[in-house]
């Protein structure tokens, strides 16, 4: 690649001795990784994200209950208090009490302190498929019935919020992967073709892109979601991915087009064509790889937007539908002011969205700093 600093071309300004020494033998990726590691907050944020995504992968095992398991006697159940000390103040095995409804109208529960229910680990419960493949029925923790363990309370149908958050995380977190694939592939192809051929093709393609961009994105999003209203809940998730993909490619394609427009003037394009490459192959194999650092940066910066968009749509009831959970649709049950003030634990999924988006933003910041082309050309280590 032309920008590799290990082999400066004869015409390039001399690299300061110290910097050259430091950079000798490192690939561009290794350099970027070194700079990324120096961004402490981005490193911490990556750890947070790894934990969150790992939890999402193992969610059926980590969650004590299944996604749809509801307990009609326990709706708006408050967070179960977990006791680490017995009534004499001695440290014991953690246990919980069963709760009893004392006020039917306001749904107030009280612990029944006669029997203790110790928290058991690796208990057998409802069966599930780990990774969608392996049939298993062991859960990380649980308690014997009739007691229940709801560390963050229950919702309006008596479903454990922690379990639903864990199950929902698979949708809310992993939606970004298909979205990245869609946005990058459409954006690269569209921008690549438009910028490469230029002229009338470019003109028409860019006008179409502008139409998509001229509609406020969220308006377009809810209008498209309205079209997919009749899609059954099982396929809803795929529909949400399709809608978000349709809305988000245009801006990205436009920047790629601008980059391709200037790249195609360079000699290597002529060279690629001269040795008999087709136009398409020249675009895909020779031109587009040059946009890689922009693509990586821009996609990482778009991820928080994807997560917020999914949760917003689900929050409005236009995304993932009941009985399936996503962080957004769990929050929509808290829009009722009475529910919100009486049962504030219903807000818990919002904090997860917030933490995830924050972490992605920090990672995006780190990635941008690491791949900033100016940092490479100016040769000053950060």
């Amino acid at each position: 690649m032309a920008t590799t600093p290990t082999a400066p071309s004869p015409g390039a300004p001399p690299v300061p001795a110290k910097a050259a020494e430091e950079y000798r033998g490192f690939s561009l990726t290794a350099l970027a990784w070194r700079r990324f590691r120096r961004h402490k907050l981005a490193m911490y944020a990556s750890v947070v994200l790894i934990i969150l995504y790992a939890a999402a992968i193992f969610s059926p095992f980590l969650a004590p209950y299944s996604e749809t398991r509801s307990n009609r006697q326990k709706y708006f159940h408050p967070p179960t208090k977990i006791h680490f000390f017995d009534e004499n103040g001695r440290l014991t095995r953690p246990y919980v009490y069963n709760y009893r409804l004392v006020d039917v109208g306001r749904r107030i529960y009280e612990p029944v302190t006669t029997t203790k229910y110790p928290i058991k680990f690796f208990v057998k419960g409802e069966s599930y498929k780990l990774f969608g493949l392996i049939e298993w029925d062991v859960h990380l923790y649980g308690v014997d019935s009739p007691a229940v363990i709801y560390p963050l309370g229950a919702d309006h149908l008596g479903r454990d919020i922690v379990s639903r958050m864990l199950h929902g995380s698979r949708k809310s977190l992993f939606i970004v992967i298909p979205l990245i694939v869609i946005t990058v592939s459409i954006g690269l192809m569209y921008g690549g073709i438009s910028g490469y051929f230029g002229g009338r093709t470019d003109n028409i393609m860019m006008r179409i892109g502008e139409v998509v961009m001229a509609v406020p994105s969220f308006y377009l999003l809810i209008a498209l979601a309205g079209v997919m209203r009749d899609v059954p809940a099982q396929q809803r998730f795929a529909a949400v991915i399709a809608i978000l993909g349709l809305v988000s490619w245009a801006g990205f394609a436009r920047v790629i087009r601008g980059m391709v427009l200037s790249l195609r003037q360079q000699e290597f394009v002529e060279g690629a064509l001269a040795i008999g490459n087709s136009h398409l192959r020249t675009i895909v194999r020779h031109i587009l790889p040059n946009t890689i650092s922009y693509v990586v940066v821009s996609i990482t910066l778009q991820v928080p937007g994807f997560i917020i968009a999914e949760s917003s749509l689900s929050f409005l009831g236009l995304g993932v539908q009941e009985p399936f959970s996503s962080w957004g649709n769990m929050l929509s049950n808290a829009t009722d002011l009475t529910n919100l003030t009486r049962y504030p634990w219903m807000l818990a999924p919002g904090f997860l969205i917030f933490i995830t988006v924050l972490a992605w933003n920090y990672v995006g910041d780190g990635v941008r700093d690491a791949l900033d082309p100016r940092a490479v050309t100016s040769g000053e280590p950060r």
Partner: protein
């Protein structure tokens, strides 16, 4: 400059036609019959439905339907009136309805935009000048949190505290019940009162984004050679920062204004939804739920026009602020 504005306005015409085609196609694909809602309504006779059916040409192919809607919606010689059809839900012309709701959204977005500029720019300047100081670190962290918190979640949290602490703030609506009897001053106060919660929600995110942008721009500018030159020739720090660096750092922010309008309009939808503020986004959402296609179409069109005008204003402001920019 006038020629530039005129050209931009003329450019909007094909764009609007494109948007109308896109929006119409989306609505055409939507499930459910166009008049299904009306048939269920006992107040509307079968003749009326047949009449509307003929009027909108619903038995005709897609392109004819589009043309019938289009020639009403776009002002043309001989028919300058904009007619976006009638809302099935409210039984009023869509233009009247949207005018009312779009004004509310406009008011909300404008207040938030102005407020966030007033807050974000001084904070951004401070953070850039005191880079890596304690204050800078606190502000940048807060800004990061501000851009990361989803609008609707922030709105829920604020509502929670408003109810919990029994703050005397109106929840929901843009005006009080007796709004029409108030005099002008009372009307303004009443509106402002209702704007507090939604504005607070909307301003947080946009202030945070703007402040981060301001900070990094100013930091970039302060590293430029001409700033070094200005310092070298002995200008006071105040002149260097505010006269030489700041003016150059603010220009990109004006372009940002266009994007901000887009994000404010989108963010406003959710905020309106949570705080029950009667704005365009909520109208659109309600229309979608009720199969009110003309309303949704109109909403998409008006939203797009607001966005395009916002971008145009941003370009004009940029030309006004930056003498280097010349539009032919």
């Amino acid at each position: 400059m006038h020629a530039f504005i005129l050209r931009r306005l003329l450019n909007m015409i094909p764009l609007l036609i494109g948007i109308s085609f896109l929006s119409f196609s989306i609505m055409y694909m939507a499930p459910g019959d166009f008049l299904g809602e009306l048939r269920l309504n006992p107040q509307i006779s079968a003749e009326t439905i047949e009449m509307m059916r003929a009027q909108y040409g619903l038995d005709k192919p897609f392109i004819v339907q589009y043309w019938l809607w289009f020639k009403e919606a776009f002002p043309m010689p001989g028919n300058w009136k904009i007619n976006l059809g009638r809302s099935f839900q409210y039984h009023t012309p869509v233009t009247t309805l949207i005018g009312f709701y779009a004004f509310n959204t406009f008011l909300l977005s404008l207040t938030s935009a102005v407020l966030s500029w007033l807050i974000a720019i001084p904070i951004g300047i401070y953070a850039a000048r005191k880079q890596y100081s304690f204050g800078d670190k606190v502000l940048t962290t807060l800004a990061f949190m501000g851009v990361s918190i989803p609008n609707f979640f922030l709105a829920l949290i604020i509502l929670y505290f408003v109810v919990r602490w029994e703050l005397p703030l109106p929840i929901g609506g843009a005006t009080s019940l007796g709004y029409d009897e108030l005099n002008l001053w009372q009307k303004i106060v009443d509106r402002a009162h209702h704007l507090i919660i939604p504005t607070l929600v909307l301003t947080t995110g946009s202030t945070a984004g703007l402040m981060r942008y301001m900070r990094s721009n100013l930091l970039d500018t302060l590293r430029q050679d001409y700033v070094r030159t200005a310092r070298a020739k002995g200008l006071s720090e105040r002149v260097v920062v505010y006269k030489h660096a700041l003016r150059n750092a603010i220009n990109p922010l004006i372009t940002f204004f266009g994007f901000e309008i887009a994000s404010l309009l989108s963010g406003a939808t959710l905020t309106e939804f949570v705080t029950s503020y009667p704005g365009l986004g909520r109208l659109l959402y309600g229309g979608l739920r009720a199969n009110d296609y003309h309303l949704v179409l109109g909403g998409l069109m008006v939203g797009s026009v607001m966005l395009m005008l916002g971008n145009l204003i941003a370009d004009i402001m940029l030309a006004w602020a930056d003498p280097r920019i010349r539009y032919q």
